[in-house]
């Protein structure tokens, strides 16, 4: 029996949550509360959620859970050197973190920011008809402000560890990252779960990549099956900047990634790479937007997925080229391998071009492993299992190999080995 929509109101979801105590600009809080008040979760009738059902999520009434004393972040850390900051159930956990001062790098809580700094937060985030963004504003638990000074190069990647460790809890976190002019930095975000179930992470990351700056963000999404994750990345690029993002999704009952890059300067480069390897009843939904607002820019987007058992995936990639954004090279590609008859994917690459002197392409392929290739490998003495692994690795390797961060790749490979028995 289908339940009525009113059973799944946002207010039933937020009833155990607390309105934010962070001094965000007041009009954002007001708008967010208006967006949530009396509204329901989006259904598959709305275009943005057409292939992702929020039914299971909307039935939850998560609580706020605190961090635990004995938590150690080290086992979750992807990098052996450099800083890592642990956020457990949405609460900052300094005892579990590893922190050293780095010249030119400021990391502080929103509560430590001055009014001028706070003005930037949320300024480009859409709240209208975006309930998760509204939740991330009105019910924000913790905010981290990261600033990389002009002309500074941060050697070790800045690492953030999201850890869910309680049942049916909610973690609502905002990051604001400002990459100064001509600066260069790399950030790694890992999302993990230990002892959590039916818990949800709602993370919004706002990134401003300054003129001539280089910034790389890599995400490893490894929450246990049973937990939910809604991630939104809102990126603005100034001229001559390079932004690269790797999103690797290996676990989680429902993972939704919303990425929007506003390329608001000339001579920029934007790279979005995604890999999702799913099994069981997992569902991963990647929504991306690259908005070319200025001329003479390049963007590359490659997302690939391997979907096993009953898992499902969605890819919706949009590339806009605005009217005066001439001389744009934009490439977008999505490829999927379905390992079983019950696995499914909905892939929708979209291009909207309003300029007339551009080079853009997009494509999407979905299929099974090439059985002729499996037979060929078997005929050389390779077991069927190894043959399939070789083919899957070759397929997904194309996107995983785009990442030259060895620690990140090693951790990914270790988890793939653990979960799928793959040796890479």
């Amino acid at each position: 029996m289908s339940e009525t929509q009113t059973d799944r109101t946002l207010s039933s979801f937020t009833k155990h949550l607390r309105q934010t105590e962070i001094s965000l600009p007041a009009h954002l809080i007001t708008t967010s509360l208006n967006e949530l008040n009396g509204k329901s979760f989006p259904t598959t009738r709305s275009e943005a959620w057409k292939y992702t059902r929020l039914t299971k999520l909307s039935k939850l009434s998560p609580t706020l859970a605190s961090k635990q004393d004995g938590t150690n972040g080290t086992p979750f850390a992807i990098h052996s050197t450099g800083n890592f900051l642990v956020l457990e159930n949405g609460a900052i956990h300094l005892d579990a973190s590893r922190f050293e001062t780095v010249t030119g790098l400021t990391i502080k809580r929103f509560s430590e920011c001055n009014a001028e700094e706070l003005q930037h937060i949320g300024s480009l985030l859409t709240l209208e008809n975006e309930p998760f963004n509204a939740l991330n504003t009105a019910y924000l638990q913790e905010g981290i402000f990261i600033q990389i000074a002009d002309k500074v190069q941060i050697e070790a990647p800045i690492e953030l560890i999201h850890l869910l460790s309680k049942v049916e809890c909610s973690a609502t976190i905002r990051l604001y990252i400002h990459v100064g002019k001509f600066a260069k930095a790399e950030m790694t975000i890992g999302t993990w779960a230990a002892g959590a179930d039916k818990s949800i992470l709602n993370a919004v990351t706002e990134i401003h990549v300054g003129e001539g700056a280089h910034f790389t963000l890599q995400k490893l999404q490894c929450e246990d099956e049973g937990n939910f994750q809604i991630c939104t990345e809102e990126i603005t690029q100034d001229k001559d900047s390079v932004f690269t993002m790797h999103t690797v999704t290996l676990n989680g009952t429902l993972v939704r990634n919303n990425v929007r890059v506003r390329v608001n300067g000339t001579n920029c480069e934007t790279n979005l790479y995604g890999a999702y390897l799913l099994k069981g009843n997992q569902h991963t939904d990647n929504h991306t937007v690259i908005d070319h607002m200025m001329p003479h820019c390049n963007s590359n987007e490659l997302y690939k997925g391997v979907i096993d058992e009953q898992a499902t995936a969605v890819f919706n990639g949009k590339v806009f080229v605005r009217k005066d954004a001439q001389k744009i090279n934009a490439f977008q590609s999505n490829g999927n391998v379905l390992m079983t008859d019950t696995a499914a994917v909905n892939s929708k690459p979209e291009l909207e071009i309003y300029a007339d002197d551009v080079k853009c392409s997009h494509g999407s392929t979905t299929g099974q492993l090439d059985e002729e290739a499996v037979f060929y490998l078997q005929s050389r003495g390779i077991s069927e299992r190894s043959a399939r692994n070789l083919l899957v690795e070759a397929f997904i390797g194309e996107v995983l190999d785009k990442n030259d961060n060895q620690d990140f790749v090693a951790k990914t490979n270790a988890i793939l080995n653990e979960r799928f028995g793959w040796e890479r």
């Binding site: 005929s379 003495g381 077991s383 070759a394």
Partner: protein, 251 residues
Amino acid sequence: MITIKNLHASIDGKEILKGLTLEVPAGQVHAIMGPNGAGKSTLASVLAGREDYEVTEGSVDFDGVDLLELSTEDRAREGMFLAFQYPVEIPGVSNVNFLRTALNEIREYRGKEAISAKDFMAMVREKSAIVELDPKLASRAVNEGFSGGEKKRNEIFQMAMLEPKLAILDETDSGLDIDALRIVANGVNKLRSEKNATIVITHYQRLLDYIIPDVVHVLYNGRIVKSGPKELALELEEKGYDWIKAEQEAK
């Protein structure tokens, strides 16, 4: 080496092999010729273990083991090798990586230790020289972007690496120019020994000028209908297959 008795095989309910009997002893090269549709490639596929084909009757003894009971990979591990008529392109899987996996799985099956990286690379250099395969191709993705001749040379290179007891060459000569044909045939000849056997499946006598067979068989309508010395191939080249067909219909 291999003894095939009264082999019947069908695909989608249609019988292709209709009681094929063939024996190839160690140290010999046997050629199987025949008109299109006679069942030549079906024989290769059935021996390699392609699942699309159903064996309904008969037996295949491969050096003392019941071949039909084995999976495709175990047939390879027992020492069977099929050179494909149409080698498959496998993007992203490097030739050497795949061959090393294959070699080590075969060695494990035989209770041997994995080959060291150094020994393996030395072997790649030595064996690729046999078929004059550019060592650069050895490290490229399997067959991807290879010319027709390079693909066939790659098949023989793999055969050299895996050192099979029985090699089945399925129309390896098709589409090759004289130079490529000579290189491929030289490779096969260099690998011939008293301990292994080769079955050469071909439509044309031309290949048999380079790989001299001990016996030539004619496969027609799913059975071996005639066997003879290498001169039989020349006779077929000259007279075609019509006289065979006529002979069979007269029976």
